[in-house]
């Protein structure tokens, strides 16, 4: 277990270095940073001095090492657009995205597993067929369309829920603001969370259903039935636990996707998170911001993958070191 963890950690570091290199390359290829910093009337002399001062004349490997060293300390430089440290801006925006992602992941997981199990057990039921048909729509509709539809129905027509923003937020520490503690904050979360989670929900549901049907056909489930075990135990203790192994993999990756690609949902709902920040950064060629976002998302994926690997060990005894 420990050896596996160490091996995975080393792999993670390699992945992070590769992503860091790509993020670093952005500075080299996306425009000349000097142009962005100094005005039109700066002389060639001034430009050369600034270039020297910023270390842009150093060999590439040294610049890269400097970049990695700074990034490891959370220092991604100054945003071109906002003239503030990138890390401070991201830290300010991150709680909004994480909150949205967690709520929609919880929504997708609980509903996805529940409905998946239900449709697998009641394979030919009317309700099952209905759910499966609706889920097909959920998979095929693009996220922005779902968001716009939800806004139209619940915000414009019914006027039940707000159509944009985070509502009222409460600062619970220096680096975390939450919308969960106010009624308007909670109401604002509902539509974006559903929009962001709907695709994952249908995906998880279909996956759980397929896996569950597969497991229900196995010999050990037949044997459990032949031993007269209770239906509930067979379904939820024997079958569901075996179903969860592949589900964990996909769900882990999907959770990363939820955080990384909240961009569209955040744009539709004007959600003040890092996705919206990133879109604006692209629009204004804010390179430090873009590279920081890239590294951040890679970190999210790497961490989630690590957690998934550890979860495997918890769920599947076959992976644990043998006792004998």
């Amino acid at each position: 277990m420990l050896a596996m963890l160490i091996r995975r950690l080393i792999q993670s570091i390699v992945v992070m270095l590769v992503v860091a290199f790509i993020a670093f390359s952005l500075f080299q290829f996306v425009g000349d940073p000097i142009n962005n910093m100094v005005g039109q009337e700066a002389s060639a002399q001034e430009r050369a001095e600034l270039r020297e001062r910023l270390g842009l004349n150093d060999p590439i490997p040294i610049q890269f090492m400097r970049f990695v060293g700074n990034a490891a300390q959370g220092n991604f430089g100054i945003s071109y657009r906002m003239a503030r440290p990138v890390s401070a801006v991201i830290a300010e925006r991150l709680p909004a995205t994480l909150e949205l992602a967690m709520i929609s992941a919880f929504f997708a997981l609980s509903m996805g597993i529940g409905l998946g199990v239900y449709t697998a057990l009641k394979r030919s039921g009317v309700l099952s067929n209905f759910i499966m048909t609706v889920s097909l729509i959920g998979v095929s509709l693009p996220t922005f369309l779902i968001g716009i539809l939800l806004i139209y129905i619940f915000a414009v027509e019914l006027r039940w829920l707000p159509s944009f923003g985070r509502g009222q937020v409460v600062r619970i520490s220096d680096w975390w603001t939450t919308g969960l503690l106010t009624p308007s904050g909670r109401a604002s979360l509902i539509l974006p969370a559903i929009t962001l989670g709907l695709f994952q929900l249908t995906l998880i549901m279909r996956l759980v259903r397929a896996e569950m049907l597969e497991v229900l056909r196995t010999d050990y489930i037949k044997f459990a039935r032949a031993r007269g075990l209770a239906q509930r135990s067979i379904h939820f203790h024997h079958a569901l636990k075996n179903t969860l192994l592949p589900v964990i993999t996909i769900t882990g990756l999907q959770l990363g996707t939820i955080i990384a690609f909240a961009i569209i949902t955040e744009t539709v709902f004007q959600w003040p998170g890092v996705g919206l920040l990133f879109i604006n950064a692209i629009r204004f060629v804010d390179v430090p911001m873009m590279s920081a976002y890239l590294v951040l998302i890679a970190l999210v994926f790497v961490v989630i993958n690590l957690i998934v690997d550890v979860l495997y060990f918890v769920v599947d005894p076959r992976l644990r070191a043998t006792k004998h």
Binding site: F223, A226, G228, H238, P317
Partner: protein
């Protein structure tokens, strides 16, 4: 007739398909006596495993019992609702499957699986059930049973896993065990051990066993009586010595002739021409008529039922040859 534990009467199992109904078991009649091992042989698709599944009430849909009855210990069990049948499975009828590698839940320990099964059927608390689990594992011959209780299935070898499977099948102390090809997936050297375990356990407990297999060696070794199935029908049923040494039905004769023997030096093994008909293509009359060497008119016309053979009181054969002898 108090020594009869299970009797299957005119059992018909059908599989409705889109355009027609396939009859997989066609009026099966057999009895299992208390404490005996009834072997069930036949080619693949003859209906051996299906008979077992029908008895324990686990036919895969859309398969269904269309006719006949199954009586266990004086109680009719083929038409019980799910909840009542569940109480019979494991408690009255145990089942052992073919492949021990896939019969055990890979992510639960042996203890978890045993204790759950024991507590489903017997009024025991966790601790008592755990003790019982150790006893069961010792009974089926697992060394250091107490230490191995909390192991997972993948810690055991194939033969040991089949012992665990048998222990699980016995956990509810059933009167009847249906063993569906219990040795087919095992090494030859382990097969004999598993058969020994089965034989010893049913002798000690007075339990009956239906031993489904296509291995005549296993039947000759373990069974008291044997039923030969062909195309979903019982061709011949009787004491194992008579059926093996002196078969009556032409199909059984061919089946026994096709088994190589070390003791008797035979030049050539006989073979039965052709192959068993598919379920949608069973001929009228006797199902064996296209392949039979002694076929006559009546075999194409009427279907033979099980009839007693004059010289062998315990044998029953579904063949017109013996009816003619009786009448002439």
């Amino acid at each position: 007739m108090n020594d009869v534990l299970l009797s299957v009467r005119d059992l018909v199992v059908e599989f409705p398909k889109r355009d027609k109904v396939l009859t997989a078991l066609d009026h099966i009649n057999l009895e299992v006596r208390r404490g005996e091992i009834l072997g069930m042989v036949g080619e693949s698709g003859a209906g051996k495993s299906l008979t077992g599944a029908a008895i324990i009430g686990l036919l895969e849909p859309p398969g269904r019992i269309a006719h006949g009855e199954i009586v266990l210990d004086g109680q009719r069990i083929d038409n019980l609702p799910y909840g009542q049948m569940r109480r019979i499975r494991g408690r009255k009828i145990g089942m052992v499957f073919q492949d021990p590698l896939t019969s055990l839940n890979p992510i639960l320990t042996i203890a978890e699986q045993l204790i759950e099964t024991i507590r489903t059927h017997l009024p025991m608390n966790e601790k008592q059930a755990r003790e019982r689990a150790v006893e069961l594992l010792e009974e089926v011959g697992i060394p250091a049973a107490r230490r191995r209780l909390d192991d997972y299935p993948h810690h055991f070898s194939g033969g040991m896993r089949q012992r665990v499977v048998i222990a699980l099948a016995l956990a509810g102390e059933p009167d009847l065990i249906i063993a569906d090809e219990p040795t087919t997936a095992l090494d030859v050297s382990v097969q004999a051990q598993i058969i020994d375990v089965l034989k010893r356990l049913c002798r000690d407990r007075g339990a009956s066993v239906i031993l489904v297999t296509h291995d005549m060696g296993v039947i000759a070794e373990a069974a008291d009586r044997v039923a030969v199935l062909y195309a979903g029908r019982v061709a011949e049923i009787g004491p194992v010595r008579q059926v093996v040494k002196d078969p009556s039905h032409p199909y059984t004769v061919g089946l026994m002739g096709s088994i190589p023997s070390v003791v008797h030096d035979i030049d050539r093994l006989t073979q039965i021409p052709g192959s068993m008909p598919r379920l949608d293509n069973i001929p009228q009359g006797c199902a064996f008529n296209p392949r039979c060497s002694q076929v006559h008119d009546r075999c194409y016309r009427d279907r033979p039922n099980l009839i007693a053979v004059e010289s062998k009181p315990d044998n029953q054969v579904a063949c017109w040859l013996f009816d003619e002898r009786a009448s002439s």
